[in-house]
């Protein structure tokens, strides 16, 4: 179990080592931390991204969580009660998505460019796993985003990138307690004249650490033993309670 977590940490280091700015020197950015540790006391956290640009322009930041498959179901009323009916599956859906910029996105980029770089909630990549008409896809896609927003995993609004002077910028990214574990990518884009002229990607790992991680790993990989231990623990607690309150 420990080895697997170290493996994750090593992957982050390896990515850090090979990452180079796309167009050297136009843009430099980094995170206050490259690891979010979910410990027993975890209630969510903020990560600060800061950076500098060496030429005038605007900045957009996109945070994408690990890819997942999502099943979206629509309820219909049958015999008076609401029952899940129509279903559409999406693959390659980021488990977490956030975006921030120093100006409104539609003022910065035309939709085609935003689409290419997946900047903005309208452009998050998610692939429908069935041949259905565009209207249905759009409807289920909107529902998926709405549900993710309710869970706090997709940003409801564009975050603010703040410039400190001409060159330095910073923004803060909030992660809720239910943030999915895995490898995240934080992409920073330098935008000028309605186009992306520089980009940099930096990794961020979200990982369970310590007691809660040990329990999770154990439950996932030794389900039967975990279940048996859980029952023994419950029996022990019940027996203890029954003995302590014997006189009562």
């Amino acid at each position: 179990m420990r080895a697997r977590r170290w493996g994750g940490a090593m992957a982050v280091l390896a990515l850090l080592a090979i990452w180079t700015p796309a167009r050297a020197q136009t843009l430099v950015a980094d995170l206050s931390s490259h690891l979010i540790a979910i410990t027993t006391g975890f209630t969510g956290t903020d990560v600060v991204l800061f950076g500098a640009i060496d030429q005038p322009g605007d900045v957009a930041v996109v945070i994408e969580g690990p890819e997942t498959s999502q099943t979206v179901r629509r309820k219909d009323r049958m015999a008076g009660i609401w029952i899940n009916n129509e279903t559409l599956k999406f693959s390659h859906v980021p488990g977490f998505y956030g975006v921030a910029s120093n100006k409104p996105l539609d003022a910065l980029l035309p939709p085609a460019v935003a689409q290419r770089h997946e900047i903005g909630l309208d452009h998050v990549r998610m692939l429908p796993r069935a041949d259905v008409d565009a209207a249905t896809v759009a409807e289920f896609r909107a529902a998926l985003i709405r549900n993710k927003q309710r869970e706090g995993l997709y940003g409801t609004e564009v975050g603010e990138v703040v410039f400190l002077g001409q060159r330095l910028f910073r923004t803060s990214i909030s992660f809720p307690a239910n943030v999915p574990i895995g490898l995240y990518t934080v992409s920073v884009y330098l935008i000028r004249d309605q186009d992306v002229v520089g980009a940099q990607t930096t990794p961020l790992a979200v990982s369970k650490i310590g007691f809660s991680a040990d329990i999770f790993d154990f439950a996932q990989h030794n389900g039967l033993v975990y279940g048996l231990l859980g029952v023994l623990l419950a029996m022990g607690a019940g027996w203890l309670a029954g003995s302590v309150f014997r006189k009562g």
Partner: protein
């Protein structure tokens, strides 16, 4: 103080969960039932995924059952033979229930089935209990009920494979306790409840057991059934959160002690009427949720990748 639940994957306030356990424990001590029927909907209500609520609840009930049986054991109110025979049906029911649970989860109907089972079982039984206790309250005013035979003979007593249960002074077909245990097992797996409120009347009215032995014996069968359910849910569906179960257990045990002391101040019929009203309230709330138009018609489930 916040604590992160590793399986439910959410952060909860420790004192909140302990309080929840204590409150349900108090009610279960007061009425002499397991309390699973209150705990599972409450857990879902505070945001625990339904599947995790059911799995965790099965584990929690094992502990609650053990301390309950110890209490009845000291008073010699447990029919071990009958409990074990019921258990045989219980294990089969649990295994089938857990498989069914996994299948419904994949089809996306598990939440609906959990809610519907609650509405049907809780609504039906609490309605009957309420009528019964209201009638008893009126009769009590009018003066002593007549004492009938020990039990009436019906077609149920004509079933084959008869067996003697000396402790309960019964000579009945094993199919009856096995069948009751089977239904109990399915309920544990799908609804996360011990099913005491269903088993107890069934043991009194269908088996014709002496009422003094019913509580202890049903608890004995509940321990083993919930234990099997908890292990299977952990092994196949990964839905048992030990941390959550332990917190509920600690709160529940303390609450149950207070509750059983408070029960001395309540008359039997009054307690039953109150219990019936509580159960009916839960059932009505769930029924209304099924019928009302939900805020969002769409729901999502993560089917692959990190949750």
């Amino acid at each position: 103080m916040q604590i992160y639940l590793p399986i439910a994957e959410m952060s909860v306030n420790v004192f909140w969960v302990l309080g929840l356990g204590a409150m349900v424990g108090f009610l279960s001590g007061l009425f002499g039932v397991g309390g699973g029927f209150l705990m599972t909907p409450l857990l879902i209500f505070i945001g625990v995924p339904p599947a995790v609520a059911v799995g965790t609840q099965a584990n929690q009930l094992v502990g609650a059952g053990v301390s309950g049986v110890m209490y009845h054991w000291r008073k010699r109110n447990v029919d071990v033979k009958l409990g074990l025979v019921m258990q045989a049906g219980g294990i089969v029911g649990t295994v089938l229930g857990v498989l069914l649970f996994g299948m419904l989860q994949r089809l996306g109907h598990i939440d609906l089935v959990i809610s519907l089972s609650y509405v049907i079982f809780l609504g039906g039984i609490s309605g009957l209990m309420l009528m019964e206790s209201v009638r008893a309250l009126f009769r009590g005013r009018r003066k002593g009920a007549t004492r009938g035979k020990l039990h009436h003979h019906t077609w149920l007593h004509g079933l084959p494979f008869k067996m003697r249960f000396p402790r309960s002074r019964l000579y009945i077909s094993v199919l009856l306790p096995v069948g009751i245990g089977f239904i109990g097992g399915v309920l544990v797996a799908i609804m996360g409840i011990g099913g005491g409120f269903l088993l107890v009347p069934a043991m009194i009215y269908i088996l014709g057991m002496p009422t003094t032995l019913v509580a202890g014996t049903s608890l004995l069968q509940i321990i083993l059934t919930t234990a099997v359910a908890a292990v299977l849910q952990a092994a196949t569906n990964h839905t048992v959160d030990i941390l959550l179960a332990m917190m509920l257990l600690i709160g529940g045990v303390l609450g149950a002690q207070l509750g059983s002391r408070a029960s001395g101040y309540l008359k039997g019929e009054q307690a039953r009427a109150l219990l019936a009203l509580t159960v009916l309230g839960v059932a009505v709330k769930l029924a209304v949720d099924l019928v009302l138009t939900p805020d969002d018609l769409y729901s999502i489930t993560t089917t692959a990748g990190p949750k």
